[in-house]
């Protein structure tokens, strides 16, 4: 993970490797997959154990579980309206899965599965497929009028329709690349500055003082990454809600 010779190997941390020995080899179970499973276990523990007592006056864990529930519920109902309640479990899963993936990635030696474009694109594709199916089920072929806004001059149709279709098709790309790029950038910066700490610190007595600066930067970066971890999960969830709103209401 750290410096190999002179070069800073910032990308080694994203390498996939099988875990859990024989099982991992056979079923291609990588550390990325392991952390997805860990995220699901933690989310389930939070939501099931936290709500186990179902107390009228909630404790700490129950407050957290209820706060997550109400935060995402407000978000979905606020964006989509009352029809959005059907999609609440899906958006909740997306939000919690991305949030826990981002946060778990900040623990040293953990793997950030949201830093893999294959993962984020698969999630974004899931959203894209769902949104398209919802649009088609609710509006039938009328759904295609989405690509030509009402009241636009007919003359501009050859221009507007391709633009709308391209912008629609680029949604999963922007959705997945945004999350992926943010997580990769954050983790690359963290390891670059961490490597600086080791490199400068190994330069003897004076190096101890020099290493303080990149260390301080890393401390700040971890705080910043906590913000990014939450913000990106929020952005993923709210964009999904906005797309669902478009599919349900057509503009």
């Amino acid at each position: 993970m750290a410096a190999e010779g002179k070069a800073i190997d910032a990308l080694h941390q994203f390498n996939l490797a099988p875990v859990l020995g024989e099982f991992g080899e056979q079923y291609m179970f990588s550390q990325s997959t392991l952390f997805m499973a860990v995220a699901v276990v933690l989310i389930t523990l939070l939501m099931v154990v936290g709500m186990a007592r179902g107390a009228v006056v909630p404790g700490r864990l129950q407050s957290l579980a209820e706060a997550s529930y109400e935060f995402v519920h407000e978000l979905v109902v606020g964006q989509v309206g009352d029809e959005g309640k059907k999609f609440f479990p899906f958006v909740f899963c997306l939000f919690m899965f991305v949030l826990f993936g981002n946060l778990l990635g900040l623990i040293p030696y953990a793997f950030t599965f949201t830093s893999h474009i294959a993962v984020t694109f698969a999630l974004a594709a899931l959203v894209f497929v769902l949104v398209t199916i919802v649009g088609l089920v609710i509006h039938g072929t009328h759904f295609f009028s989405y690509f030509f806004p009402e009241g636009a001059p007919k003359l501009l149709a050859p221009l507007i329709i391709p633009i709308e279709i391209i912008s629609y098709l680029s949604r999963p790309i922007s959705l997945s690349v945004r999350l992926f790029a943010n997580m990769v950038a954050g983790h690359v910066m963290l390891i670059v500055f961490a490597t600086f700490v080791v490199m400068i610190g190994s330069a003897g007595f004076i190096g101890y003082f020099g290493a303080v600066l990149p260390l301080a930067i890393n401390v700040i970066l971890v705080g910043f990454e906590l913000l990014v971890a939450f913000l990106q999960a929020y952005v993923f969830a709210i964009l999904t809600s906005i797309y669902l709103h478009d599919a349900v209401h057509l503009h």
Binding site: I8, V40, V56, V119
Partner: protein, 198 residues
């Protein structure tokens, strides 16, 4: 309009930390990003694992966890509503009791006033009749006394006439020798009435 503005702001905000990804792109040329190494079977397997794990998460959340949270939240809401309702009812009851109490107090006060003024009126009536009776009695006594006095005076006047006539007759008899009693009486009467003693 505000929605698209918000979307733009969110996108800009989200892209802000991505500025650092240029650092990553420099490294990419050295070894290549592991994320783009599609020859790696683990990378493809990861997607299938993701779908399986995400479906599991969805089933757990939609089937078990979220309905339970919804139930707890609904129970709390109905409990709070119930408590508020009970508090409102209790307040209504207290208000009604207060109004009852107030009207009862006013009623009692009015009754007491009436009783007092009735008692005063009765006392005054009694006093008036007693005074009247006393006055009448006194008037009767005065009248009786006056009658008695005038009778006594009458008697006294009669005696005076007798004495005057006798004396006059005696005086006349001594002076003139004998006297007509009737003439003397008439002369005394005349004299008495002239002096106002009749």
């Amino acid at each position: 309009m505000s929605k698209s503005l918000r979307l733009a702001a969110l996108t800009a905000l989200a892209m802000l930390p991505a500025a650092g990804s240029f650092a990553a792109e420099h490294e990419e040329h050295a070894g290549g990003m592991p994320q783009l190494n599609f020859g790696e079977p683990l990378l493809v397997a990861q997607v299938f694992w993701l779908l399986a794990i995400f479906v599991l998460l969805y089933v757990l959340m939609a089937g078990v966890a979220l309905p339970r949270v919804a139930k707890v939240l609904a129970a709390r809401r109905s409990r709070i509503d119930g408590d508020l309702e009970a508090a409102r009812a209790a307040k209504d009851r207290a208000d009604a009791a207060m109004a009852d109490h107030r009207s009862a107090t006013a009623h009692a006060r009015a009754e007491a006033h009436a009783a007092v003024s009735a008692a005063v009126a009765r006392a005054q009536d009694e006093l008036a009749t007693k005074t009247e009776a006393m006055n009448a009695k006194l008037a009767r006594q005065i009248e009786a006394a006056e009658a008695q006095i005038s009778a006594a005076r009458q008697a006294a006047m009669g005696a005076l006439r007798q004495v005057s006539a006798d004396t006059a007759a005696a005086v006349v008899a001594r002076i003139a020798g004998g006297a007509d009693r009737a003439v003397v009486d008439a002369a005394v009467d005349r004299e008495l009435s002239a002096r106002g003693h009749a």
